[in-house]
């Protein structure tokens, strides 16, 4: 993540990018001249095609965190599209490419949708199935694909200059790689790119910030498929002959190894990994026999010792030398609270109930929160407070009862939809996007407001400044001390300028000084018009921040009123401390 990323005028942001692009163009121009034999030039073409294929994995695995072991299948779709197009169907190469990309789009979207409800190993399994079935069809549907014999005499694409030599085609392939590389690199810091990375880091938190996670995942798969197909097309017209062998599970794993070795999130890393694993077996002839053994070994070693890949190492070194560029000042202070009359109901909960099997976690709870209130929800351990917050923010679906937010029934809605309508939340056990910087965390929070990138940045800047973390903005969030991490989560929640903020034990784990700072920030937010619903155990914090309190015990509401009243209420005292008479009778 470049340290210069956050400079507010967006046009300045691309300067290092433009430089890299120019450098890349130079490399593209020069590289084929260095490879003199036909054989080595072909290798260069192979490296370029594989790199493009690997870039697809950077999007779906590196950015979005979804395992795809089907990349060779998408690569194959592109390859077979141009192969069949230029031989059997006799159509223009570019048209054939387009058809291949469309097929890949459909396949990628279908695969993405099939895996939505699954995660982890299920996901991996479905992608493997897809890959294996694809290879089976390729090998056996002889009528269409030519079967194990493959397809030969594939043509090269018509271009401004005829691509009739290997060297010229190498230029073409490298130019394509540069283009795709630039696009994937650019994608990283867009709303979509950041959303993907948020989904990878913490899906639940991303949802709660308004990211439509299923859509993001499907888009990620689709993009990886399209990019993979492009790589395959380049390969096919480079080597002029393809056979099903090249598009099997082993090669899907090879792509995987390449992206791992290079560093899953990095464009340059992917190219590095792909090149390395393409050229290495050629350079070390004796090892050609066992190069797949080495692949396997390398995968394990990288995972155990170098999970960030080669590029990760480079980044680590780079970080030592990077200058920390401070964030510019925010253009305006943070705005929260929305427009509406103070005192009007913004949240109305009626007979809210949640059952988990036989356990009633929340039992017919009624709650009203008015605009401008700081409302506490308290109760002993296990009383259902966090369950309530999860119900309100959409993480759980109510068993029965109604939740009305801003005059809309939201019970059962997706968390992202509820977030977009103006509700933000923090989490009891902190759900930061750990590998993202403070700045990126808060940026994702600011997405909710919509509008141009510049507006999103303005909101994020304001939020970071509000919590006082401007000078730490580019640090990786997991490296911050705990108190600061909690502030990041707060900044992230308010960056979207919500109307209602739900806080789940914001004081947990903080020391006295940090709690004082938290109280100060929350009171200011409340004064600025933000309605707050806070779950807390620290009563002194509660009494300083909140004006109204609702008390739960065993899932039921047992008291409500001002904080002082409630803390003196005998039922509340008993709920927390136990019944003295009963105790003495033991």
């Amino acid at each position: 993540m470049s340290a210069t990323d956050a400079q507010a005028p967006s046009r300045m942001r691309f300067r290092p990018g433009y430089l890299a692009l120019a450098l890349g163009a130079v490399v593209v121009a020069v590289l084929p001249l260095l490879f003199t034999t036909r054989y080595s030039t072909n290798l260069l073409i192979l490296g370029a095609a594989m790199s493009i294929g690997t870039l697809g994995l950077v999007v779906v695995l590196g950015y979005a965190g979804q395992i795809s072991l089907a990349q060779a299948a998408f690569y194959g779709i592109g390859a077979y599209a141009v192969a069949l197009g230029t031989t059997r169907w006799d159509i223009n190469w570019w048209l054939a490419l387009l058809l291949g990309l469309i097929a890949a789009t459909v396949a990628g979207a279908v695969l993405g949708m099939a895996t939505l409800k699954l995660g982890g190993h299920y996901l991996a399994m479905v992608t493997i199935c897809f890959q294996v079935i694809f290879t089976l069809v390729l090998t056996n549907w002889v009528a269409v694909t030519g079967g194990p014999d493959g397809i030969s005499n594939i043509k090269r694409p018509p271009f401004f200059i005829p691509l009739n030599s290997a060297q010229r085609y190498a230029w073409f392939a490298l130019a394509a790689l540069l283009l795709v590389g630039a696009l994937v690199w650019w994608l990283r810091d867009t709303v979509l790119g950041r959303s993907m990375r948020a989904v990878r880091e913490n899906e639940i938190a991303a949802e709660a910030l308004g990211v439509n996670t299923p859509r993001v995942k499907v888009i990620a798969f689709t993009l990886s498929a399209v990019i993979g197909a492009l790589g395959g097309a380049i390969y096919a017209s480079g080597y002029l002959y393809i056979s099903p062998d090249t598009f099997n599970f082993d090669h899907a794993v090879a792509f995987f190894a390449m992206v791992l070795v290079g560093g899953t999130e990095s464009v340059l890393g992917a190219i590095l990994g792909a090149s390395l694993l393409t050229f290495l077996p050629e350079w070390l002839r004796e090892l050609k026999k066992i190069y797949l053994v080495i692949y396997g070994c390398v995968i394990i070693l990288v995972i155990v010792f170098m999970p960030e890949g080669l590029w990760g190492y480079a980044k680590l070194l780079g970080r030592r030398f990077a200058r920390v560029v401070p964030l510019p000042a925010a253009l305006r202070p943070v705005q929260v609270g929305g427009r509406g009359a103070p005192g009007e109901e913004i949240l109305r909960v009626e007979k809210l109930t949640k059952r988990f099997g036989g356990l009633v976690a929340v039992d017919e709870v009624d709650l009203v929160v008015r605009r401008g209130e700081a409302h506490a929800l308290i109760g002993p351990n296990g009383s259902g407070k966090t369950t309530c917050i999860n119900l309100l923010s959409g993480l759980y679906v109510p068993t029965s009862g109604r939740i009305r937010f801003l005059n809309q029934d939201i019970g059962g809605q997706r968390p992202s939809r509820i977030a977009v309508s103006g509700m933000a939340r923090s989490f009891q056990n902190l759900r930061l996007f750990r590998e993202l910087s403070v700045w990126e965390n808060v940026l994702v929070g600011a997405h909710r407001g919509g509008g141009h990138e510049a507006e999103t940045r303005t909101r994020a800047l304001a939020a970071i400044e509000f919590v006082g973390l401007s000078d730490k903005a580019h640090e990786i969030s997991r490296s911050l001390p705990y108190g600061h991490q909690k502030l990041v989560e707060l900044a992230r929640a308010i960056a979207g300028e919500p109307e209602l903020l739900l806080l789940d034990e914001p004081g947990a784990g903080l020391n006295q000084t940090e709690k004082q700072e938290l109280v100060r920030l929350l009171k200011r937010l409340n004064e600025m018009g933000l309605t707050i619903l806070i779950v807390e155990h620290d009563m002194s914090l509660v009494s300083k921040v909140a004006s109204v309190a609702t008390v739960l015990n065993f899932g039921e509401k047992i008291a409500e009123g001002t904080v002082d009243e409630v803390l003196r209420h005998p039922a509340v005292v008993e709920a927390y401390l136990g019944n003295r008479e009963v105790a003495l009778g033991v």
Partner: protein, 300 residues
Amino acid sequence: MGDGGLSMLGQFLFAGLAIGSVYALVALGFVMIFRATNVVNFSQGEFAMLGAYAMVTLWQGAKLDYFAAMALALLIMAAFGLLFELTIYYPLRNRSFLPVIIATIGASIMFQNGALAVFGPSPEKLRPVVDTAGGTGGINLGGVFFDYQYLVILLVTVVLIGLQYLFFEYTLLGKKMQATSQDKDMASLLGIPVGIMIALTFIYSSVLGGLSGMLVAPIFFVTHKMGATLGLKAFAATICGGFGDPRGAILGGLLLGVIESLGAAYISVIYKDAFSFLVLIIFLLVRPQGMFGEKVSEKA
């Protein structure tokens, strides 16, 4: 369907059950590791392949007695399981599932291609357990030919599952291993040596895998690739049966074996391998928790 048709059906069913048993054995080893450690071992199929090659080396290469070779090969697989646990599971035991899956995929590639490098690409043949002059022998019953090797596979599977059941239900060690797989931390609080329990699990799974490889080898050829499809199908079997449930592994394996056999016979032999995956896809889309499993969902 005339009498010929019925006995054909019987034939295919029998073959399907036998192959299904092999899938079930591999799947069982897979599920054991998963239950104990939450690790999805993508190289489980390779255990079968390695067992088969161990057998080939000892019996053909070292010219040992068939059953002595088998016993020794199983011992080798046990040692291998321990080695696997120490080098691949242990360094990654606290990491999230993604690195572990990837590492086992890497292991799978390493084993497959290592076998290729050591043993070469030409397939090896292993003698069946019951050696009759002139190839495979068997019993003819009611028009159905019951191949001895298939019978051996079914017998071994039944006996093994029975023994395993007895072990886990009636021995203290079995209970300790169950406890470890149900709640590792609580088990350690009680003084159960969790590290040893996990090592034993890997050893057992490796032996199970190796045994299934040795049993299926005489039917097909022994190649470096044999573990790949076996592993994938076993994995499919556990998902269809209900991920993490041993009963599911067994039933899923049998189901897939039968579907595959019938599909190959009556629909298309070319796409035989695809049937298992189609069944898997159907399960994943319609009932991802499988036959015995609970709802698959992410915890909030």
